[in-house]
Symmetry: C2
Subunit: 395 residues, 2 copies
């Protein structure tokens, strides 16, 4: 059996770039940019008025002039005006281009306007004040957003500003979520006493939707010939299959043999961790298969930790590692990486993790009380209050 | 002029619940639950086998019996079998109902199976081991998810388990994003020297999409009669309008007078903050209007801070307050709340905020270098390295 760290390394070694596609920029929030975005013009593209008021030549103010005849108006969106008489001023609006012949803006708050003449209030005027000069933020052809940036609302504004209507982003893998197990019935059915409703597929689909993957889902009974026939098709259709169930030692846990018979390369089966030990990972061609044990906490933590790492690498980004401080001593003796359910709290700028113990891998309800899994290493038995550990967070 | 804190209080006082709607549960990720979800059965609903192996009566092991004839198989998804002879055992699969007459599971790893007889390995057997007994996680009718919970993949799994195909969630406000300003051209146009492309609307739409609001957008020129005519319609159509531009002192900043003439109640105009001082907020009937100044950083921080607070309250949830530690001394003298752009870094479990100074409210490009705004209070001039301040985060 391999360690959780080895499992992660094998999975990452099997994560290849998903390729690229050009999509309408309005659909790009949350996607990963696959081209650098450059300034198409200077930022700002012209000497831009920053306050509503008047524009004049600073030298006149320095020379002691306090009254200025308003000879014109420069609105935002109008072509540049020219100050005809250097002793005059032009009324200017925020966002307008600064008129030719002027270099300084005096806001309305600092002048008296009467009969077309502006009288300056007393007080200091700074040359070039309230003008955002062309190119002071960025110069034409400067890189504004590097490749492999996750697109947030800020990047959306920048894409719009430079006129990128369609943007090159990472593709996402075509993904199938597959449940097995004859004890499962559909959400709208009433289960018999020995049955339960399907839930892992919906947890996984929701997790995938959060990272912009619209997945398909299927359910297959514990029937080996049928599993083999269907999975053969899926391997040709999908880039990724997330399975839940049928990977342990049970008489009807057919998946590992089915994968083997279909020529899927097994990279590992079983990981020294709790929960989720019977996790199976393999690939065939461009299809990667994560087969998680069917207990809900096992499937969930497996997808959260291993699938997310694989996905992130395929997108071409490096995830931020988050750590939290354990608020209680924890004893865990088995030589397994322990994914401990915790509730998170931000306290004085530091993230605190309090264990929320449930009844193990089958206890779905307990997940609703927690926010994350703290990752406690296998080579230790006692985990001290006040120590930092990495975590995978879902809330 | 009111303080940022007063502005926030007025906005929150004007945030009413958005109402409720029932939607397919598969579309509910990220939405706010408006009903409590209860267990429809015990969790687990039956004594559930947790390991693949054999089930037997513990008393036989206590009595020293080490060999058990396998009289049947209990698969997951099959109705409950009964152990006919109490000296025998039944093969059981993970997820199966525990057979009648048995109380303990011995996993395959701890037995030798030969010719239909299981011989136990030496070692301790604990009564009731590897059985997840009915009702040990939750009892029928227990609350599983309280009302006003944000639905994550975990809640999706629980909704599926209890058979909720349609779920009651908070409605989201029907929202319009409205830009004004004659200097603006569309994303696919080439701007003249004095023009720029529309970007704030796309930033806002992206921000709204992240919180599950599919907004509409419009652009209106600096034409008062047209503004009045169109906004009159919008007031009857939308629950919320986010405007960018036309709220300052400029000659074409028509919005405040248009709102006044349309009977919109102004709650405030101008807030002691930087950036975003000329922010205007009002309401008419069930429509709330956030009119932000048009500079991109002003609009963005206004929506992130004020709109988000209003939205969160309307949904019925309390946002988590996050704070970060300032990593450098900052001097800011004006008596204004200062929204300082910062880059965040998690360091030893604590969140650190490093200022990323740009060229003010017009500097959209600088936002791409930062992750958040640290909120520095107005009644202070010096902000010391190592101090904690609240923040609004966008990345």
């Amino acid at each position: 059996m391999i360690s959780s760290q080895e499992a992660l390394e094998i999975i990452l070694a099997n994560a290849l770039p998903f390729g690229e596609e050009r999509i309408p920029f309005l659909e790009a929030t949350g996607r990963i940019l696959k081209e650098s975005i450059y300034a198409d013009r200077d930022f700002p593209p012209f000497n831009r008025v920053m306050m509503d008021g008047i524009a004049l030549a600073y030298q006149r103010v320095a020379d002691g002039q306090t009254q200025f005849y308003i000879e014109n108006i420069q609105a935002a969106g109008s072509p540049q005006r020219t100050l005809e008489n250097p002793h005059n001023a032009i009324e200017v609006m925020t966002g307008a281009i600064l008129p030719e012949g002027t270099d300084t803006v005096i806001p309305y708050e600092k002048i008296e306007l009467l009969d077309g003449v502006a009288t300056l209030h007393e007080g200091k005027v700074t040359p070039n004040q309230h003008v955002h000069f062309q190119g002071t933020d960025r110069t034409k052809n400067d890189e504004l957003i590097p490749k492999n940036t996750k697109i947030t609302p800020v990047e959306m504004g920048l894409l719009a500003t430079v006129g990128i209507k369609e943007v090159l982003v990472s593709k996402v893998p075509k993904t199938l979520v597959l449940s097995t197990g004859d004890e499962l019935v559909e959400v709208d059915q009433i289960p018999a006493q020995h049955e339960i409703r399907r839930s892992n597929v919906y947890t996984l689909m929701s997790l995938l939707a959060q990272v912009h993957i619209k997945s398909d889902e299927q359910h297959l009974p514990d029937n080996k010939p049928l599993l083999k026939k269907k999975i053969k098709q899926y391997l040709n259709t999908y880039d990724c299959i997330l399975c839940s169930g049928a990977v342990s030692k049970g008489k009807y846990d057919f998946l590992p043999e089915v994968f083997d018979e279909l020529g899927v390369q097994q990279h590992f089966h079983k990981v020294k961790q709790r929960p989720g030990k019977p996790f199976w990972f393999g690939s065939k061609g461009s299809c990667s298969i994560f087969a998680f044990p069917g207990n809900p906490v096992s499937t969930f933590v497996g997808a959260l930790y291993y699938f997310s790492a694989w996905y992130t690498k395929g997108l071409g980004i490096t995830p931020k590692e988050t750590k939290a401080v354990l608020t209680e001593d924890v004893i865990f003796k088995p030589e397994l990486t322990y994914f401990l359910q915790v509730k998170l709290k931000s306290n004085s700028g530091s993230l605190e993790a309090t264990p929320i113990r449930g009844n193990g891998s089958g206890d779905l309800a307990n997940l609703a009380l927690a926010d994350a899994f703290l990752i406690l290493p296998a080579n230790q038995e006692k985990f001290n209050k006040g120590t930092l550990y990495p975590l995978v967070q879902y809330r």
